[in-house]
């Protein structure tokens, strides 16, 4: 299957790079540069999303108090620095939108699918380098459109990131006209970038694996990114179609989702969640892949149950398509349908448990190195367990009656997306940083950042479970309006203070990231003593990646193999007389 013709092409000029600055760093077709471009873009949007969250938290902790530096906002957002409910709704909406579509998703996929797939499968670049470049340069304007919407009359979209119609479909209801249209347009544009990217990842993984890189010698990160790309290419067109229909309702006066003229509000929810639930797995599967790579490395052991890990990824990917209705138990959807969606949803606990116990099994009898990537990967496991288990409560239809649309859901999604995906990303960025930039990130500051983030993260999000059980609704601007929520206002204040500390802690990461770029310790080819193909090439990896196309002889995680003296056996290292390495 793996083609090597393209690889030979690149070998000749692997070390002679005569491209201009613009071709090399701006309109580059090199998958590594595109990955780094995505990294910078999505880290910036991560910062934006975080800032929006802090502003929201301020209002929730101290309702009606003027925002610090709130005077800089125009009267339509925060007169006298005190935010208006419509501005709060925009913050809610844009925080979710930026975090899901412009931070976590591009960080996981745009950055690491681009950067890792060719390097880890032994290919010189992506199958379609120009399409790859196009994918990044389509994503940028989408982000700018979204960002600009804050500046238009009526402000940014304010119907929540889930854009439930009819609130989202008619300006009469939301008070936001242009902002809502820009949201729809931006999502359609971003969708094109995702579709182009996924097409590329799928083709590359199928066609460009180095000789010997059989399917079951692929690292789990690549498996996860591959399955994710399949989910993306199937799910995103649904969202794009739905967003176009929404845009028609907003712009042309169609009535797909507006009931007075025969539209169906629930149609939007079905379309959105038919995309939205695979999307949830798009946002977690790559993280699981990176964590598997890092935990094997940190434990110095082969991953426990490699094959079942692969099948668990596929199982989650498949189940992801038949559970969307669990977002709609209280929506007016036929309750009998709710029961079937409950069963399929509960079944996701099975592959998730397999993965969790296999990670535990990997650390068992290991020789564990607590480097920064490992700390973050372990935190991923610990936090994903909480996020996964809290999902069982919502999956149970009767319990969901109480906690649906409350802070319990907010806690759950943040335990999965922050405690899960973002910790995995902190680990992955630190782990592959040397291969991107040729230098190591500071180990000491990485540990400081990890410990503080871990503490403040839990202080921020764990108490939200209690808010939700007590009936605290999501997306409300001022909880003190409800007498029954007043006793919990102390918890709200506590969360706000923790969230501000959590946000502040991220400056440590930002500083570490920037300073290490110029001043970090120089990295050798293989600073983590890992087994993957990317570590056989210099750091940073040159244009064309490999001087000669590597040949793969081993399974991906041959740590502590008895056949070599070191505790790692790289995938391309040929060893005489070796027992079947993939036996499980």
């Amino acid at each position: 299957m793996a083609t090597t013709a393209a690889a030979f092409d690149h070998v000749a000029h692997a070390h002679i790079d005569t491209r201009s600055f613009i071709k090399r760093y701006i309109f580059s077709t090199d998958h590594k540069i595109i990955g780094i471009q995505f990294l910078i873009m999505s880290l910036l949007f991560l910062g934006v999303g975080g800032l929006l969250a802090i502003m929201m938290r301020w209002q929730l902790g101290f309702p009606g108090a003027a925002l610090p530096a709130g005077g800089m906002f125009p009267e339509t957002m925060a007169p006298d620095g005190i935010m208006l409910p419509e501005f709060y709704n925009s913050l809610v909406t844009m925080h979710g939108t930026f975090m899901v579509f412009f931070a976590i998703m591009p960080l996981l996929v745009g950055v690491f699918a681009n950067f890792l797939i060719p390097l880890k499968i032994g290919a010189p670049d992506m199958a379609f380098p120009r399409i790859n470049m196009a994918s990044f340069w389509i994503a940028v304007p989408a982000g700018l459109i979204m960002l600009t919407s804050f500046a238009v009359e009526g402000g940014a979209a304010g119907a929540g990131w889930t854009m439930y119609a009819p609130l989202s479909a008619s300006a009469e209801y939301s008070g936001v006209s242009t902002g809502q249209m820009l949201w729809s347009a931006s999502i359609v544009v971003l969708g094109m970038a995702s579709i182009l990217g996924s097409m590329n990842y799928i083709t590359t993984v199928i066609n460009m694996r180095a000789p010997g890189m059989t399917w079951f010698r692929m690292p789990l990160s690549i498996w996860a990114l591959f399955i994710t790309a399949i989910l993306t290419i199937l799910a995103i067109p649904i969202l794009s179609g739905a967003a176009i229909m929404l845009l028609f309702d907003q712009l042309l006066g169609t009535h797909f989702f507006l009931p007075p003229q025969g539209g169906q509000p629930l149609l939007w929810q079905h379309l959105f969640w038919f995309f939205g639930h695979p999307e949830v797995y798009i946002l977690i599967l790559p993280a699981m892949g990176f964590v598997s790579d890092i935990i094997a490395n940190g434990s110095r052991k082969p991953i426990f149950g490699y094959h079942s890990m692969v099948f668990a990824i596929m199982g989650i990917g498949f189940l992801g398509w038949i559970v969307w209705g669990h977002h709609m138990f209280q929506s007016g959807m036929n309750p009998t349908l709710g029961t079937s969606f409950m069963i399929s949803t509960l079944l996701i606990a099975v592959p998730s448990a397999i993965k969790t116990f296999n990670w535990l099994g990997t650390t068992w009898r290991g020789n564990i190195r607590f480097h920064v990537p490992m700390l973050n990967a372990v935190a991923f496991v610990a936090m994903f367990v909480i996020g996964g288990l809290s999902g069982v409560f919502m999956a149970s239809t009767p319990v969901d009656i109480q906690i649906h649309d409350t802070y319990f859901i907010v806690a759950h999604i943040h335990y999965v997306l922050f405690g899960g995906s973002l910790f995995a990303l902190f680990g992955a960025i630190t782990f592959w940083y040397p291969k991107m930039f040729g230098r190591m990130m500071s180990e000491r500051w990485g540990k400081v950042h990890f410990i503080l983030t871990f503490i403040f993260y839990n202080l921020t999000f764990f108490p939200m479970h209690q808010l939700g059980l007590g009936g605290h609704m999501r997306r409300i601007y001022d909880p003190t309006e409800y007498e029954f929520l007043l006793p919990m206002q102390g918890i709200n204040r506590f969360i706000t203070v923790s969230a501000i500390l959590l946000f502040t802690t991220q400056f440590i990461f930002a500083a570490n990231f920037v300073i290490s770029w110029f001043k970090g310790k120089r990295a050798g080819n293989n600073p983590w003593q890992d087994t993957g193909l990317e570590w056989t090439t210099p750091s940073p990896a040159p244009h064309g990646n490999f001087p000669t196309t590597p040949t793969v002889y081993h399974a991906p995680y041959e740590f502590s193999s008895p056949h070599v003296a070191e505790d790692y056996l790289m995938q391309d290292r040929k060893v005489e007389r070796i027992a079947s390495p993939t036996a499980s």
Partner: protein, 216 residues
């Protein structure tokens, strides 16, 4: 500046027969609003005293030169659990200042046909918001969705020759140049009536409108 003169239209609006009862408003769940009213508050759709009809918007519909520009003082709006005034006019392009005089959230939703609508909130007492309509329109409805009973009606005019009848049914439009005009009286439920009047060089011409209850 558009033409101005010394003529005027003075008149009264009457209501023939018994006006329909104004619906009562259930303010019991909003004590700060209920406290501002004595007895059971009602929605003042029909303001009728001794046969005199208030809150009717009267304006010069035609007869003025087109394209002339005018200035006029604007009317501040108070949202005090009910809009004050309920029926008023502004010049197109003139800012309307809306003030929240209650210790609670109000929103102001305007759904015009010819103008750009808005839906804005005033979560705190004393907040002031200014909005402008640029195209003439009879009439732009205002509503508050937090308090579904709150309604107001704004006539967006090209010229300042309009008035709202008072509780005694009287109105005056002055500063008009001499000439013959068509004038219209508008009420939110009772409909519209038009008359042709000739305004003298100086002094006022007297006009009378009589509305009856609309067939239900």
């Amino acid at each position: 500046m558009g033409p101005r003169g010394n003529g005027a239209i003075a008149g009264t609006v009457r209501f023939g027969g018994t006006p329909p009862a104004n619906p009562t408003i259930d303010m019991s769940e909003e004590p700060d609003c209920a406290g501002k009213h004595q007895g059971a508050p009602t929605d003042p759709q029909y303001v009728v005293n001794n046969g005199m009809f208030g809150n009717v918007f009267v304006y010069v519909k035609s007869g003025l030169p087109a394209g002339a520009e005018y200035t006029a003082p604007s009317t501040p709006v108070q949202s005090g659990c009910l809009y004050h005034p309920r029926v008023f006019g502004v010049l197109a392009g003139q800012p309307i200042e809306i003030r929240n005089s209650d210790p609670m959230l109000h929103n102001i939703k305007a759904v015009p046909d010819q103008n750009r609508g808005f839906n804005i909130s005033q979560p705190r007492e004393g907040m002031m918001t200014s909005r402008t309509f640029n195209a003439p329109e009879i009439m732009v409805p205002f509503e508050c969705n937090v308090h579904g009973w709150m309604n107001a009606f704004v006539g967006v005019m090209e010229h300042p020759f309009f008035a709202t009848s008072g509780e005694d049914g009287s109105f005056t439009i002055d500063g008009l140049p001499a000439g013959t005009y068509e004038i219209e009286a508008w009420h939110e439920l009772a409909g519209t009536q038009t008359q042709s009047v000739t305004v003298p060089e100086t002094g006022a011409v007297n006009v009378e409108f009589t509305f009856t209850a609309p067939a239900s």
